[in-house]
Symmetry: C2
Subunit: 458 residues, 2 copies
Amino acid sequence: MTDTALAYARQNAPAFLEDLKALVRIPSISTLPENGPDMQRAAEWLADHLRRLGFERVSILPTAKHPVVYGEYLKAGRDQPTLLYYGHYDVQPPDPLALWKTPPFEPTIIGDDLHARGASDMKGQLLAFLKALEAITRTGSLPVNLKVIVEGEEEVGSPNLRAFLSEHRDLLACSYCLNGDGGIQAPDLPSITYTLRGLSYFEVRVHGPAGDLHSGEFGGAVENPANVLCRVIAGMHDARGRVTLPGFYDRVRPIPPDEHRENRRHPLRADSWWLEHTGAPALGGGELGYTPAERASARPTLDVNGLLSGFTGEGSKTVLPSLAMAKFSMRLVPDQDPAEILRSLGRYLEAAMPPTVTWELLEHASSRPAIAERDSAATRTAMRAFELVWGKKPIFARQGGSIPVVGLMQEILGVDSLLLGFGLPDDNLHAPNEKFHLPNFRRGVEVFIHYLHLAASR
Amino acid sequence: MTDTALAYARQNAPAFLEDLKALVRIPSISTLPENGPDMQRAAEWLADHLRRLGFERVSILPTAKHPVVYGEYLKAGRDQPTLLYYGHYDVQPPDPLALWKTPPFEPTIIGDDLHARGASDMKGQLLAFLKALEAITRTGSLPVNLKVIVEGEEEVGSPNLRAFLSEHRDLLACSYCLNGDGGIQAPDLPSITYTLRGLSYFEVRVHGPAGDLHSGEFGGAVENPANVLCRVIAGMHDARGRVTLPGFYDRVRPIPPDEHRENRRHPLRADSWWLEHTGAPALGGGELGYTPAERASARPTLDVNGLLSGFTGEGSKTVLPSLAMAKFSMRLVPDQDPAEILRSLGRYLEAAMPPTVTWELLEHASSRPAIAERDSAATRTAMRAFELVWGKKPIFARQGGSIPVVGLMQEILGVDSLLLGFGLPDDNLHAPNEKFHLPNFRRGVEVFIHYLHLAASR
């Protein structure tokens, strides 16, 4: 059965690619109100696709904002496990547009890569799974029971997913979750992600004078909220690159000494990798004492994501701005808790903000970090599936990004998640010129075909 | 002769106001390329106006960017002084537009004030002078010789004025300069400005990775240029609110002890004035040990004028930005030197910027601070003119803003400038809802009528 499905997948690879192109052409940007109709279009495209695969109870379930696509295929029998596949159909905004080499929503193949917003994160990974299902169901039957949810708010922090999972807890009951939003270390280095960082994303607005003032007439007499903002943001790190929020590191699990030694001796990615893949002038600048890969996956960080104040056009305007805004976010590692981080940030800001300004703090997103057992049945099955396709065992890896749903699945449905995805670290996620490595698309389909057969009870 | 001119001015006050409205309707924004045609229109409007007053050699003289309007009226005889009047016809951009209560280029009278961009800075002040000339020339003849220049680049730091003054040095030969771009302390508190702050306006751009990165995948491994920018800007002040650039205070003339004592005993503006006129939540936050008025006029300052980096739209985007930009400017006091400040800033940035980023510094504008003699003949004449109109002696005041042309007039033409203007500190210069106090417009016309007669040799 596996063989016929694999053969189908190879024969139909060109058609699989056309479907992927069709899906990435839909600019399903969840954060921009003007793309609301595109979100609906993407959800309908997926629902149709599931129906054509023979899924039942396919529906577009509403949330407070963007809907979730649901479908189920429960024909494997009661003694087979029920997997809940999780994916998302929304994508990041493409700005800054000027830096794209190809139109973000016109998929373009360059070399082995498909360039488009969402190609890797995660429409390519999502279709790798759906096409594995197509190969299996067209040549036989699915050996496990399967439920699928595809949400539309992952890129804005999944604000309505908690309520959705709670509301549909019975519908979504399952053995464990198969999360397709993962990645591997390199085209020839398959890997299984076993830790994820959490996320606390904030916006702080500092208000000074009631309106913009002339910096000559008033500069010096009145506090400048942009100066204050810079001071407050700068104060969030100390000279050793550590975050200064009170208690920030209290719950951080240290990297095990043997893992740290191994990271230093055989770094997964050499400094040259980081320099090549980012174009940064030099490394360093983060927390002292760790390798770049550790700093980007096993240690918590605080990054400014956006700054805006005053006059930002060409030339000069001598304005003392009335408002200064920063968006900033922290990546959290096990066992940091977003609720504690929020309280800690509040205490820091209370102390750091002078009485000469007023300020407000918005929380845009929050998710818990996650850590998985390396020797669960699901993980061992995934390792075997990778090995069958790549011809080598995958390594275990920590991922720097956040997948809030992993924590929610544990909390609300009581199930672990297995991350099975095929993006690459240099896919330009969330950035201009996002791309998906097409050999990984083909291999991804094959890994899922193997996995779904291996996951069935004998 | 003065009396008939004053009578003419009173009779024609409504027509004067209509002309002022016509001029502020022209959006002569010098910093925005799209307003080029409006700049030309404003220059032509003024040239026509001078011709109708009987000026000769009226011309629109080109510079590398916006032209200067010139005209002369030299019929008073060789034994009379020749005054060079200086004004500007350009205005600041109106953004943020949403904060205007009335359309910025549709002059609107509310109470005693005319609301419009440029109403105070400085089309109202400019017309006060031109209407004094109209009143004098329609009822008699001008008792002094007069040259007029009105430039179009004051609001962008007069980048081409130096070259213009050098090129036309002979044409502009004069006894002294009458600069109409001044102001008084309050409607019932006439004042003569005797010091001006200088300006050093910069933009710094900090470059990190070659493109925007996903803050989850790369945050921690790669320096974030927005974090660096905040740290570098924050480091420009110490905990006592003093600017940390090396040698920044070396040439600052201390406030004379008697002036400082007087400022503390009888502050020109109480704290309540500053709070009312700015809407700031509290005062303080600037350099310790000085009154707000001192900090805003007699002490140098450093203000952020603009910040931009990363994602600034609604919601969240987990981006590690590749670029962070700040516009910031220093107000300089006698005897600070912009060239020294530039070198000092360069040294500071060299030391403060880490090797993990690259950066560039742009100088947008620079002007020297100025200080005038309190007992020159021109100053004494101005005091008398104010007294005749207001019924009380004006006080001496320091102005916080910068008028680069004052330094250039001294340097290139070798003449002092007398500042004679009628704006108010709460006119919302460079900010939304700029306004001009119309009683000051009428009184300004009268002060100029008196002044031009008193300035003539007997």
